[in-house]
C-alpha cells in the first residue's frame, strides 16, 4: 500500500507525473513503445499506427466534447480537411512532412473556428446538428471541388519525407505517428494545467456561471474548437500519409460517430480515457476478425455475419457504457489501480 503521498508545493501538486512510481512506469511505457516496432510483426505494426492516429483524433475530440462540453459530429470532416491539405501539398509542393502536417492542423483549426462560430448562439444538440451540417458541407466540397481534391476519385500521395529520408513502410510511419501521438497527448495534458484548460472545464460544467466568472465564452469556445480540429487535422494528415490515398469516402459521418464513441467508451473528460477508448474501439473490429477466422471452420457462414455483428457490438458498447459505466474505461482502470494500491487491504 502506497502512503505518504502528501505534496508540499503547488508545483508538485500540479506536476503531470506526481510520484516517482508514476515516472518509472511512464518511462517503461515509453521504452515499450520504442521497442514495439522491433518486436512486432507487420500486422501488429499496422494496428499500432492505426491506434496512434485514433489516439490523436480522440484526444482532440475529448478536448471539445469531454472537457468543454460541446458535442461535435464534425470530427471526420475536420480530419478530411487535414487529409486533403496534406495530399494537396505533397502533390504540388516539396514540403517535408512536419510542415505539411502543421498546415493540415492549422487549416483544420481555421475551419473549426468557422464551424464553432454558431456555438455562442446555439448549444447542446443544436450545436451538434450545426457540426453535422458542417460535415455535410465539407463532404460536398471534398466530392465536388475536383481541381483541388480530385473529386470522388480522391488523391494519392507520395510517402512522407524529411531531410531526404522517406517514410514508406509502416515501420517508418510508426516513428512519425507514435511520437507525435505521445507529444500531442502530453500537450493536451498541459493545456488543462493552464487558465485556458480550466476555462474549458468551467464552460462544460455551466457555461452561464463561467461567463459570470469572467470567462469570455465565445473566445474560449472557439479556442476549444480550434484546438480540437487542429488535432483532427493532424490526425487526418497522418491518415493520408499512412494510407497514401484520400477520397471523400475516407472520412464518412460514421467516422465522426466512431470518435464520439471512443470518447464515451474511454471516459469523457479524461485524457487517459481517450487513449484507452481509441485503442479499444480500434482493436474491437480486429478482434472480431480474428474470432470470425477462428469460427469459420465450424460455421462457414461466419464471415457474412461479421459486418452486422460489428455494428451491433459497436452500438451495444455505446449504450452499455453509457448506462452501466458512464465514466468509461478510465474508471475501470482507476478501479484496478485502486485495488493494487490498497492491496492487501480491501477497498
Amino acid at each position: 500500500m502506497r502512503i505518504g503521498d502528501a505534496k508540499q508545493s503547488y508545483e508538485a501538486d500540479e506536476a503531470i507525473l506526481t510520484s516517482s512510481t508514476q515516472k518509472i512506469w511512464f518511462a517503461l511505457f515509453l521504452f515499450a513503445l520504442l521497442l514495439f516496432p522491433f518486436l512486432a510483426d507487420a500486422y501488429l505494426l499496422y494496428l499500432g499506427c492505426l491506434v496512434g492516429i485514433a489516439v490523436i483524433s480522440t484526444t482532440g475530440l475529448n478536448i471539445l466534447t469531454g472537457f468543454t462540453g460541446l458535442i461535435s459530429l464534425g470530427q471526420a470532416g475536420f480530419m478530411g480537411v487535414g487529409g486533403f491539405t496534406v495530399a494537396w501539398l505533397s502533390a504540388n509542393t516539396a514540403l517535408p512532412f512536419p510542415v505539411t502536417l502543421l498546415f493540415a492542423g492549422l487549416l483544420a483549426a481555421a475551419v473549426g473556428i468557422l464551424v464553432g462560430l454558431p456555438s455562442l448562439r446555439v448549444k447542446g444538440l443544436y450545436l451538434a446538428i450545426a457540426t453535422l451540417a458542417a460535415s455535410v458541407f465539407l463532404h460536398f466540397i471534398f466530392a465536388e471541388w475536383e481541381s483541388v481534391t480530385g473529386g470522388m476519385g480522391g488523391l494519392s500521395l507520395e510517402p512522407a519525407h524529411l531531410f531526404g529520408l522517406t517514410f514508406q513502410s509502416d515501420f517508418g510511419m510508426y516513428f512519425i505517428i507514435v511520437p507525435l501521438a505521445v507529444l500531442m497527448v502530453l500537450a493536451a495534458r498541459n493545456v488543462f494545467r493552464t487558465r485556458i484548460g480550466r476555462a474549458f472545464i468551467a464552460i462544460r460544467d455551466r457555461d452561464i456561471s463561467a461567463e459570470i466568472l469572467g470567462i469570455n465564452l465565445l473566445h474560449y469556445k472557439l479556442m476549444s474548437f480550434a484546438l480540437s480540429s487542429f488535432y483532427a487535422g493532424v490526425a487526418g494528415g497522418l491518415f493520408a500519409y499512412f494510407f497514401r490515398v484520400v477520397t471523400p469516402e475516407s472520412f464518412p459521418l460514421s467516422m465522426s460517430i466512431f470518435y464520439l464513441a471512443a470518447v464515451i467508451v474511454g471516459g469523457m473528460g479524461n485524457l487517459l480515457g481517450g487513449i484507452l477508448g481509441a485503442a479499444f474501439m480500434t482493436l474491437i473490429p480486429e478482434a472480431l476478425k480474428l474470432l470470425t477466422a477462428a469460427l469459420t471452420p465450424f460455421y462457414p457462414n461466419a464471415p457474412i455475419f461479421m459486418s452486422p455483428m460489428l455494428e451491433i457490438i459497436f452500438g451495444a458498447l455505446i449504450v452499455g457504457f453509457l448506462i452501466f459505466e458512464p465514466h468509461g474505461l478510465a474508471e475501470i482502470w482507476h478501479r484496478i489501480r485502486r485495488f493494487f494500491s490498497l492491496w492487501p487491504f480491501k477497498n
Binding site: G124, Y126, I129, A143, R206, S209, S307, P308, E311, G315
Partner: protein, 292 residues
C-alpha cells in the same frame, strides 16, 4: 423554364414532404414529452419497413394485414427501446442520451443486416398503380397514395392530441412535468406512450417511403433529413414539423431534380445553417430562457 415539369417535381416533392411531416411529427412527440432527441428514428422506420417486407413478402400475407402489423411492430419496438435503454438515462446529460440513441441506431442496422442481408430490396407493391393526374401534372401513384395514407394518420394524430385524454396528458407533461405529476398524470406511462406513438408515425412513414424508393440497411440515413425538418420547424413545435416537413421535402426534390442528386443534402443543410444562425430555436420552437 418548363412550368409543367416544375409543377410535377414540386408536387412529388410536396407529397414526399407530407411523409417528412409525419416523421417529423413522430420525432416532435417524443421530444416534447421526454426531451430526448431521437437519432434512431430513421432506423425505427427501417425496421418497420423490413417487418412489412417479412410479413407481406416472406409470409405472403395480404399487404393490408401486413401494413398494420409492421406499424404495430415498429411502435412496439419504440416502446421497448424507451423502457430498456432510455429510461435508465433519465436525468443524464442530453449528450449522453443522444449518444444512446445513436448506439441504438447502430444496433438496429446490425440486426436488420443480420436477418435480411445487406442487399437493397424492393417492397411488394400494394398501392394502386393507376397514374394520378392533377390538372395536367402527372404524379407517381405510389407517392400520391402514400401521401394520402400519411396525411390521414397525421390528421388522426392532431385530433387525438387535441381532444383525447391521453393527448391532454401528453401535452400537460410536455408543458410542466412536476405539475402533471401532481395532477395525477402517470408521467412514466406518458413517456412510454410518447415513444410508442412517435415510433408508430415513423413506422408508417417508413413503410410508405420504402414502398416508393426501395429498402436497404442504409435506409436510416433518411433520419438526417428528418433532423433538418425538426430543427427548421422547431424541436417542440408540431405545426413547425408539419410546415418544415413539407418545405424540406419540396426543396430536396427540387434541388435533386434541377441541380443533381448530390445537391439534395447540401441544399437542405444550407437552410438548416441559415435557420441555426438567425433563429436558433427554429421557426416555431419555444426559446428557452436559461437561468443559473
Amino acid at each position: 423554364m418548363d412550368w409543367l415539369f416544375f409543377g410535377e417535381i414540386s408536387l412529388a416533392g410536396l407529397a414526399m414532404g407530407g411523409l417528412y411531416a409525419l416523421i417529423g411529427l413522430g420525432f416532435v412527440i417524443i421530444y416534447k414529452a421526454t426531451r430526448v432527441i431521437n437519432f434512431a428514428i430513421g432506423e425505427i422506420m427501417m425496421f418497420a419497413a423490413y417487418l412489412f417486407l417479412a410479413f407481406a413478402g416472406g409470409m405472403e400475407m395480404s399487404p393490408w394485414v401486413a401494413l398494420p402489423l409492421a406499424v404495430l411492430g415498429g411502435s412496439l419496438l419504440g416502446g421497448v427501446i424507451e423502457k430498456v435503454m432510455i429510461r435508465p438515462m433519465l436525468g443524464e446529460s442530453s449528450i449522453s442520451v443522444v449518444m444512446v440513441t445513436i448506439g441504438i441506431a447502430s444496433i438496429l442496422v446490425g440486426v436488420v443486416e443480420m436477418i435480411w442481408g445487406a442487399d437493397p430490396q424492393l417492397l411488394p407493391s400494394f398501392l394502386p398503380r393507376k397514374p394520378v393526374f392533377i390538372g395536367e401534372m402527372y404524379l407517381a401513384p405510389k407517392i400520391a397514395y402514400g401521401f394520402l395514407i400519411g396525411a390521414a394518420l397525421l390528421i388522426i394524430y392532431l385530433l387525438y392530441f387535441r381532444f383525447s385524454r391521453g393527448g391532454v396528458a401528453l401535452r400537460a407533461t410536455a408543458s410542466d412535468q412536476a405539475a402533471a405529476y401532481s395532477m395525477g398524470i402517470n408521467v412514466r406511462r406518458v413517456f412510454n406512450l410518447a415513444w410508442v406513438f412517435g415510433s408508430l408515425a415513423a413506422s408508417l412513414a417508413g413503410v410508405l417511403v420504402a414502398a416508393t424508393g426501395g429498402l436497404s440497411p442504409q435506409f436510416g440515413a433518411i433520419g438526417l433529413s428528418v433532423l433538418v425538418v425538426v430543427i427548421v420547424g422547431g424541436l417542440d413545435s408540431i405545426v413547425g414539423a408539419l410546415i418544415a416537413g413539407v418545405f424540406i421535402g419540396w426543396l430536396e426534390t427540387v434541388a435533386g431534380a434541377y441541380l443533381g442528386g448530390e445537391y439534395r443534402m447540401p441544399a437542405t443543410f444550407a437552410v438548416l445553417a441559415v435557420i441555426l444562425i438567425f433563429r436558433p430555436y427554429g421557426l416555431f420552437g419555444t426559446h428557452d430562457i436559461e437561468r443559473v
